[in-house]
Symmetry: C2
Subunit: 498 residues, 2 copies
Amino acid sequence: MNFRHFSLSIAAALLCATSALAQNPPANPPAAPPSMMDRLNAFLGLGGKSAWTPEQLAAMNKLRDAAMKDPYAYNELHHLTDNIGPRLSGSPQAQAAVDWVAGEMRALGAEVTLEKAMVPHWVRGEEKAELVSWPGQATGTKQKIVLTALGGSVATPPEGITAEVVVVKNFAELHALPAGAVKGKILVFDHPFDKELAGNGDGLNAYGNGVVYRAAGPAVAASAGAVAVLVRSVGGAEFRIPHTGMTDYAPGIEKIPAGAVTAEDAELLANLANQGPVKLHLTLTPQTFPDAQSYNVIADWKGSEHPEQVVIVSGHLDSWDLGTGAIDDGAGIAVSMQAIHLLKELGIRPKRTVRFVAWMSEEEGSQGAAAYMAEHKAEFANHIGAIESDLGADHPTGIYYAGKPALGAYLRPLSAVLEPIGAEVLSDSTETGEDIAGLTEGGVPSFAPIQDSRFYFNYHHTPADTFDKIDFKHLNENAAVMTVLAYALADSAEPAPR
Amino acid sequence: MNFRHFSLSIAAALLCATSALAQNPPANPPAAPPSMMDRLNAFLGLGGKSAWTPEQLAAMNKLRDAAMKDPYAYNELHHLTDNIGPRLSGSPQAQAAVDWVAGEMRALGAEVTLEKAMVPHWVRGEEKAELVSWPGQATGTKQKIVLTALGGSVATPPEGITAEVVVVKNFAELHALPAGAVKGKILVFDHPFDKELAGNGDGLNAYGNGVVYRAAGPAVAASAGAVAVLVRSVGGAEFRIPHTGMTDYAPGIEKIPAGAVTAEDAELLANLANQGPVKLHLTLTPQTFPDAQSYNVIADWKGSEHPEQVVIVSGHLDSWDLGTGAIDDGAGIAVSMQAIHLLKELGIRPKRTVRFVAWMSEEEGSQGAAAYMAEHKAEFANHIGAIESDLGADHPTGIYYAGKPALGAYLRPLSAVLEPIGAEVLSDSTETGEDIAGLTEGGVPSFAPIQDSRFYFNYHHTPADTFDKIDFKHLNENAAVMTVLAYALADSAEPAPR
């Protein structure tokens, strides 16, 4: 998940940089929990006529139970992360993942299409930094600074640059500095991640509050004359690991090298710079190549009555390159694959087509999704629903839905199906998934598992996003939500309200 | 803390490698908690005649309260970690730390001596590894393996080595392999850290169970014909950070390059090697220079009646080089400095000398401590007590003591003094500190704060051992234990039982 929808546009950030808005960017408030009565009604299956027959509800129960036992999702994810590895857009690993997923889907009997998309092709290079002078420095010593390049960053010269460091907490502090204070310097945005907010379950807003510095920081810093920019990693972990992620440059503003330092290194820089001049030697040598040909993998489990009507189950196949993309978003791919696998295993052929989509390049601009939207715009009326899982693989408490309020009543019988795995909540949301946002905007009802995000931002975009972070039971709960919901949307007598 | 006392000798490890002992090395059982009655008596100050007058106990209360408020320890630790940085034995930073601590102690009016010790001078070099072939590998891809060299490791050739990987869980699995199975290979010990044991408060034994592989692994692997050895990091964190630490080579056995991979990378290697041949390219280029001249810093706060009698307050000044040595063991240094600082601030001159010692090179063999023991052997009778803090800076629950059982009754009045900060437990132990082990063996009563070790091994010896891990209140609680105990030992009418 890249959360570009959280990033203010560069222009807005430049405009707002001195306002309170920049410190508290607009972000979605957490969805209100359903009332006790709603929960009770949902649990009892009350609140209106069900869109599903008792036989269909029995099939959902079977799919749920199968999802909780079947190791397919877990094993596929293990292969994707360990055997294929990191899947940066445009990389050989991303292509290998496309080929492998397509093969797996064909093996299940799905109808597979590779849909072309041109994607960014950015390759991480050397990345290192060290303090070369600071207050109280002992003769002949340096200090290592742990950092990583932000996605899309331009490079320093191969031998690096050496410049004084200026540390600010936020845009407002930057703009309070005297004119020229940042000229020729390396600007550091030391904006701490709100761990309490994340720990209270609102990781998305904690992330949103910090990620504006990652997205807009380079352009804002360059406007102020900085020669490079470092942002404090946007994440909750305290283990000196950097969090990468896409940055944005602005037209007409110089592109300067951009990296993320760890929380620890941001605090070290802030402490030392507060005592006197601090000089940093910084080397980042990523390369940006011409856009590369890549693909969304589309695999249709054809509907028995309305094959032209589709319900999408999806995740994104690309990942950042520091880890192996287990929680972001191998898990979304694996639980979507599981939906097709279980329909096959249980011999279920819903009325409508269940379409698996492995989106490409979500992390670097959602070019795969854009290609799909352009290609299928005319078929949106036949898109009955779209689901994406892209917030990890921790325990899901239910389903987010975006679209008509009537979707809530429509989904109520599913709440009872998912209650035994603790996923009975139904929650209205304006956001379901980055890749399906175009469908949502086009009037297609869209959905996502409501995932526990308390720990997600400790690992997301870091070297520690690896397979061992996956819990078998939690992953299967997500697979159950995905599979039950996909079947329900694809087999209901009437399509979901829109 | 290096916990060399946990490491079996190489010879023993080689002998025991096939026995159950190797999987469950002997380690100290956790100290039994005091009975409810003991606690009550301690709290009430009952259980025998107090060695301290009401006036002395009042002074202890004052020292405790001052320790809880005074920011000296916290600020000194901040300078040591951020401004001086990592302090590897023989490094310019270690020398800078010696000079700075000596200066700070002179500024307090203590009598400072720099006591020579020859210490190892090992310097970390380049360290990187990548998988070059594995089952399911996509054409043209490699995978990064995160690791660090173990302290004292020899180097690979500058261009690295490439070899197949063999993964075992423990010595028994290694010895169950066919003869020659490891010859020419890189041997990986994938022995998981027992996080449950650590989480339950017994971090020391969790560490002890794993650290034998770090200590003896290289010699055992070389004996089996391996060309290099990698051990799974001995620590509880799941953030893909490696834990360094000293390794041992054995006389007459080839020295092979030795590193620690992260828990995540150990699991990746184990999973892939379980599927088929895995080849790794490994580059480690540390250098071992001739032993360097270094120093223990000794600073005496001279006693008013028996200046020749000394009570030691101490920590070790050297650290590993990945982090900045905040919890291991900058904290021990800072709380020991605080003891001298508070005696000065409160104008207290105990009967006996309170001797601050900043030990050098604990991490690489305790050469500083060995030099002290050799130099002061004849004065052990005048060493009334020795305290070391070397298990971090989390909440202390009381005092470990090593020596005569009568020490328990002797210390009881202190339990009441320390109860308001939750540090009232008195616990017999055979271990108090690595650096003061020679004094303990020489019959000197020795002591340590009982520190909460549940989180210590998540950070210890990693890049994440940095100042932000220090909690002001917890650090001050440790300073209070150190200061109250030092004063008590130095001012009691009768010396502590021995």
